[in-house]
């Protein structure tokens, strides 16, 4: 090999090294809040976080932010009677589930956007037919407005009724990676295998960086 080839090899190695050690970004717009401490005004920059929520899962258990305390989780929005992208998303989410089956620090949170049809009983049947366990993968339902609200303001994805869309709803196929602080650390297209490959890598990276900070 001549000198240039070696240079190229070093460059490539250098890039991979950098890629492996980088921290996942914190997504969303930060909020600036001002507060008074000892008569002085102090400004804090707060990162975007998932709002407080309370839903019911397939076992009729209440699921809140505290359910994911000290855990990272992957969130998505779907409905069981969805004829288009949801089956593909669920097939891809199963890959995440299978990969981290034994990892207690990872959970999955799937919100139905059709709570009138997707009752607790139906979600329970759906989950058991997928063959997944409820302490790892929560299928939740709740007040329709609350689900749409948290989808749009916290997870920054589209979820809405639309009579012209197949199945009657329009929604994003995004998977969102949320860290222990409720911050979004990645957005992935849940219908694409290569995007979910990336999600699986990013989960490992996030878990590793958390464990090294402890």
């Amino acid at each position: 090999m001549n000198r240039h080839t070696w240079l190229l090899v070093f460059l490539i190695l250098g890039c991979t090294e950098a890629k492996n050690s980088f921290e996942l970004p914190v997504l969303g717009r930060p909020k600036i809040v001002t507060r008074e401490v000892n008569g002085e005004m102090i400004s804090d920059t707060l990162s975007h976080r998932i709002d407080r929520f309370s839903f019911v899962n397939q076992d009729s258990v209440i699921v809140t932010n505290d359910t994911f305390k000290d855990k990272i989780y992957v969130a998505d929005f779907f409905f069981t009677s969805c004829p288009t992208i949801c089956p593909v998303m669920k097939q891809q989410m199963l890959r995440v589930y299978d990969k981290y089956k034994e990892e207690d620090q990872l959970a999955i949170l799937s919100h139905t956007i059709d709570p009138e049809y997707d009752t607790v009983g139906l979600l329970n049947d759906y989950a058991s037919r997928l063959g997944v366990s409820s302490d790892k993968w929560h299928f939740v339902t709740g007040e329709k407005d609350e689900i749409y609200e948290i989808g749009e303001s916290s997870y920054m994805v589209v979820a809405n009724e639309d009579e012209n869309a197949p199945g009657g709803f329009i929604h994003s196929g995004a998977f969102l990676l949320v860290d222990q602080q409720g911050q979004i650390r990645g957005v992935y297209d849940g219908t694409l295998e290569e995007q979910v490959d990336l999600l699986i890598k990013d989960i490992s990276r996030l878990l590793a960086s958390t464990n090294s900070h402890e």
């Binding site: 009677s81 004829p83 949801c86 089956p87 593909v88 669920k90 037919r129 997928l130 197949p166």
Partner: protein, 151 residues
């Protein structure tokens, strides 16, 4: 130079045909005339296109279905024994529980009202003669007759 152009044009012609890309797991019914065999192959090519865009997200590109949520179509006893009911299901959807190869399924099947009788016939011919299924040519006349009697 002219020969080269001709070769490319011929290659283009065969590429458009597409039946050769169907894979080895396609059943070609015996005893069809040349004309019928050509029509059958056309049905298979169109049927595959419809299948991949409308059906494969649940039933999967290889017809194996998805866990206990969506039933398989490949070597599925229900399909093989209930051609007429299956044709109706594709067009009108289905919401009752259904047993396929010994497993009960109960997810609803959406309706596909937008598919014409010909398109239903094409996709039925495709799933009926792929993945080891050997149901033979399912033609548009037969599908139209069946669709008239769905309940």
């Amino acid at each position: 130079m002219n020969k080269l152009v001709l070769v490319f044009m011929l290659a283009g012609l065969f590429a458009c045909d597409g039946f050769e890309q169907q894979g080895k797991d396609v059943y070609i019914p015996e005893g069809m005339g040349r004309r019928d065999e050509m029509r059958f192959k056309q049905y298979m090519v169109q049927g595959k296109r419809i299948y991949l865009s409308q059906c494969a997200s649940c039933h999967k590109a290889d017809g194996t279905g998805m866990h206990k949520l969506y039933p398989p179509l490949a070597k599925a006893d229900y399909l093989l024994n209930n051609l007429d009911k299956s044709i109706c299901m594709v067009q009108n959807g289905y919401t009752e529980p259904l047993t396929v190869n010994g497993t009960e399924y109960n997810m609803m099947m959406p309706e596909f009202k937008k598919l014409s009788s010909l398109e239903v016939a094409e996709v039925m011919t495709y799933i009926g003669n792929k993945w080891g299924n050997k149901m033979g040519f399912i033609e548009v006349n037969q599908v139209e007759r069946t669709l008239r009697d769905c309940n």
